[in-house]
């Protein structure tokens, strides 16, 4: 009895002391093996080489950053970050941060992680255009002894620590120095990566399985998951079958239909995780295929606002996602909860107001054919949607039906993925069913909602431009108190209605009940696997399997 009390007390103390709070779970649970059913193979699990989702997830288990975002995922300031390769950091002045590396940190080949590796990673990031852009406000990174690294920024701003940590997963200079960036995929390192994370690379069977093993010498403690297997099953049904047949323990991105199939199953817990995804129907501000002319219908903000108000978005998203999504009125995924004004009422439906706005804009049914028209032109729009997405065509069809009731004719075009993106990038659409996985910082809005990127492929393809937003983005760039600025940007976007923001879906994860899990991180769902364990007494035979 006394021993139990002492253990609980010790655990409580450790929970308070430990930022990640993992110690108790580790002590309580026993070792195990985790099989994850995943939708894509890993091509090259090296940071900066491939952005596919599984690649990203595996990379995050193999490599470490200097620090990780904390539980709130706030990117602002320094206090919410959790030490990783850097055990501490301090500011010299408003533009200089000094990181002290944990001297216990080792690469999987046994070589110590040093400040040279951090400098090398920063220098390597210049060769990757997107990374170079993301870290452009870092003026220099220099080594000051083997475990001290000095980051100098070009100016003072609120997200310095985020820029220094999130984008830079540290790479081993001693193994990568001789390999050009474009040759990594074909190199031995690309096939057998060596990181410093809690799990080490074991093998990959192409399009079948990726095997990782706990790194015995991981400086923050050996993980309880001895092995992690990513089993590749491209079809969502095949992933679900792997779960139901007992061939896998975990899968993510479950559809509402899949959740319904799993709900009666006692072996799995369904965990909705806040996600960085948003789904929206983007209005083209320019004439389809001609970015020099305004769109004949959608350049009028009253029409756009009417199209938004006409939709009963809560009902639409319930039909698509069940209870696993929230309405959003702006480019705000669930992970941006810290940006939203407390008590903000996300979504409004008002068909009467929509009718009024359309009438104000001159759209009435002059010829009695049931479709609104103006100067002889019918209010007819085409909605482009990728056919491979399960959700977006469903949204498009609901929009079509609800707008029809207002006298708006919408034609839904389901397109093959590459054709859909080609038209999207060329601005050949009226309304585009879009989906985005956003970085944790709202500063990424610059890519999709600023005049600077208007009309650029793969960025602001709807050519939306409000100079006020650009000014505010610029203010956020240098501000130390960015949250109010972000809220003003959101207010502008809501007023302009450049899109119908349809939903901020959760990432629905099914986990076998034998696992004692930690809270799953929204943008990197398996990042906390090193803290997982198996509840004693619930081990399966495969939990006792040991490999190399």
């Amino acid at each position: 009895m006394l021993r139990s009390v002492l253990r609980i007390t010790a655990c409580a103390g450790l929970l308070v002391a430990s930022v990640s709070g993992s110690a108790c779970a580790q002590r309580e649970g026993v070792n195990g093996v985790l099989v994850i059913a995943t939708g894509a193979d890993v091509s090259t699990p090296v940071p900066g080489v491939d952005q596919n989702q599984t690649n990203w997830q595996v990379t995050n288990l193999l490599f470490l950053r200097l620090a990780e975002l904390g539980p709130t995922l706030s990117t602002v300031g320094d206090k919410d970050f959790v030490p990783m390769l850097a055990r501490s950091w301090k500011r010299r002045d408003s533009v200089t941060v000094v990181f002290e590396l944990d001297p216990r940190a080792l690469w999987h080949d046994g070589t110590p992680v040093t400040s040279r590796d951090v400098v090398f990673t920063f220098e390597r990031s210049h060769q990757i255009p997107d990374l170079a852009t993301a870290t452009q406000r870092i003026a220099s990174v220099t080594a000051d002894g083997p475990t001290r690294v000095v980051f100098r920024f070009r100016h003072g701003y609120a997200e310095q620590l985020y820029d220094a940590t999130y984008h830079l997963m540290i790479l081993p200079e001693h193994l990568l120095a001789g390999i050009p960036q474009d040759s990594i995929a074909a190199s031995e390192f690309g096939k057998h990566p060596v990181g410093s994370g809690p799990f080490r690379w074991v093998r990959r069977v192409p399009d079948q399985v990726i095997e990782l093993a706990a790194f015995d010498k991981f400086f923050l403690g050996k993980p309880k998951m001895d092995r992690i297997y990513f089993r590749v099953a491209r079809a969502p049904d095949a992933r679900l079958n792997l779960l139901l047949s007992g061939d896998a323990d975990v899968t993510e991105l479950l559809s509402w239909a899949a959740v319904q199939r799993l709900q009666g199953n006692q072996e799995f817990s369904i965990i909705p995780v806040t996600s960085p995804a948003i789904t929206y129907a983007l209005f083209n501000q320019k004439a389809p295929g001609d970015r020099t002319r305004p769109h004949p219908i959608l350049s009028d903000a009253r029409v756009r606002r009417a199209l938004v108000l006409a939709l009963d978005r809560p009902a639409m998203l319930r039909a698509v996602y069940g209870p696993y999504a929230v309405g959003n009125d702006g480019p705000v995924p669930q992970i941006f909860a810290w940006v939203e004004e407390p008590g903000h009422n996300a979504v409004r439906t008002d068909t009467a107001a929509a009718r009024r706005l359309l009438a104000d804009a001159g759209w009435t049914d002059h010829n009695g054919d049931g479709i609104l028209d103006k100067d002889g032109m019918p209010l007819e729009l085409t909605i482009n949607s990728p056919n491979a997405s399960p959700q977006r065509p469903m949204f498009a069809q609901q929009m079509q039906e609800r707008w029809r009731q207002l006298g708006i004719k919408a034609n839904v075009q389901l397109l093959d993925g590459p054709i859909w993106v080609q038209r999207r990038n060329a601005g050949q659409f009226d309304i585009d069913m879009s989906n985005a996985q956003l970085d944790p910082t709202p500063s990424g809005w610059r890519n999709s909602w600023s005049c600077a990127t208007a009309g650029k492929p793969a960025q602001n393809v709807g050519s939306y431009c409000d100079p006020a937003i650009d000014s505010l983005l610029q203010a956020a760039y240098t501000s130390r108190d960015v949250v109010p600025v972000y809220r003003r940007i959101l207010a502008h976007i809501r007023e302009d209605a450049p899109a119908v923001f349809l939903s901020a879906p959760a990432n629905v994860v099914a986990v076998h009940r034998r696992f004692a899990t930690r809270p799953l991180r929204s943008d990197m769902i398996w990042l906390g696997l090193r803290d997982w364990s198996v509840t004693p007494g619930l081990q399966l035979p495969r939990d006792r399997a040991r490999g190399n």
Partner: protein, 323 residues
């Protein structure tokens, strides 16, 4: 005969080259950007897009792209895959080929052993109750969509009974088990996809073989063989079956490409990582080098299937040989 063989081989090669040239240009006429799926969901800078285009020569004029392809292909280099971050196409295909050969080969063997034997067995029992039942069963099997059958088999044997794995090619935790255990594991994983694919193909072969055999059994020389007092098994095996094989030989030529094409639906249901899903991926990503790589393989197999059928006819039928 050698001259005919050389001529037929030359024709096959010309067919292959023409098919590949047409494919090369047709692929590029299909709308859609090769890099499109990579730039779909996450904003990317123009520099990043330009860098990709330069890397894969996608901004080069079409004749230059074709010349590059031909120059490399004659040296056995099929270029690098866009989808797989610049990995050599030959390497990517080589990784998937064993899985496809295993599944396709199993299906082919099952098809042309079980299918032929059942077809002959049925033909010699023409009009009996067994024949009628087998005909009905084969018709039903022939009509079943493979992917539906796959899901039903998974539901019964993997999810409900837990007798067989639902997907994939091996149990990952057995990677260090003894060889025999791993072979057994592979066989367990092979059962459901092979059965799913075979059911339809066996039904087709059965029906072909039955009809061909019935036709042959009606001929005079069979009556003569029986009149000579030959045992029925010898009449069937030595005299009738040989001639009844011709239509099936054509069918074999048509089925041979399954060795490398796999089946997209079945590979998807069972997560069998074969060339079928690779080719689908290549189309979905407009990964031209990979698409050409798989096209070369598949076209070669189709042409080879036709060539093999012709040669088979020549070997088995003296009349063809004389012509």
């Amino acid at each position: 005969m050698i001259r005919w063989l050389l001529l037929r081989t030359g024709q096959a090669l010309v067919t292959l080259v023409v098919a590949l040239v047409i494919l090369f240009f047709l692929m590029r006429l299909v709308p859609g950007e090769p890099l499109a799926p990579m730039t779909g969901e996450r904003p990317q800078s123009q520099e990043e897009i330009d860098r990709f285009r330069r890397r894969y020569c996608l901004d080069c004029p079409l004749p230059v792209q074709f010349a590059n392809f031909v120059t490399r292909a004659v040296k056995g280099d099929l270029g690098t895959s866009i989808r797989f971050n610049g990995r050599p196409v030959t390497q990517v295909i080589r990784e998937r080929l064993p899985a496809t050969l295993l599944l396709g080969g199993t299906v082919l063997v099952l098809n042309f052993t079980v299918g032929l034997l059942l077809g002959v067995w049925q033909a010699v029992r023409k009009g009996t109750r067994v024949d009628r039942v087998l005909s009905a069963v084969s018709l039903v099997c022939y009509a079943i969509p493979s992917f539906w059958l796959g899901y039903v088999l998974v539901w019964i044997f993997a999810i409900k009974l837990h007798w067989l794995p639902s997907a994939s090619m091996s149990e990952p935790t057995l990677s260090n088990a003894p060889l025999l255990v791993r072979v057994g594991d592979l066989a367990r994983h092979l059962v459901l996809p092979a059965v799913t694919l075979s059911v339809v193909s066996i039904a087709a072969t059965m029906r072909y073989q039955r009809n061909a055999m019935i036709e042959v059994l009606r001929l005079d020389y069979i009556r003569t063989a029986r009149a000579k007092g030959l045992p029925e098994s010898a009449v069937i095996r030595r005299h009738a079956w040989r001639n009844a094989l011709f239509p099936v030989l054509t069918l074999f030529g048509l089925w041979l490409p399954i060795l490398v094409t796999g089946s997209v639906f079945v590979e998807s249901v069972f997560s069998w990582s074969g060339l079928g899903s690779l080719a689908t991926d290549a189309i979905g990503f407009r990964d031209y080098p990979l698409l050409m790589g798989t096209a070369i393989l598949v076209s070669s197999m189709i042409v080879f299937g036709g060539w093999l059928t012709d040669v088979g006819y020549m070997v088995l039928d003296p009349r063809v040989r004389r012509r």
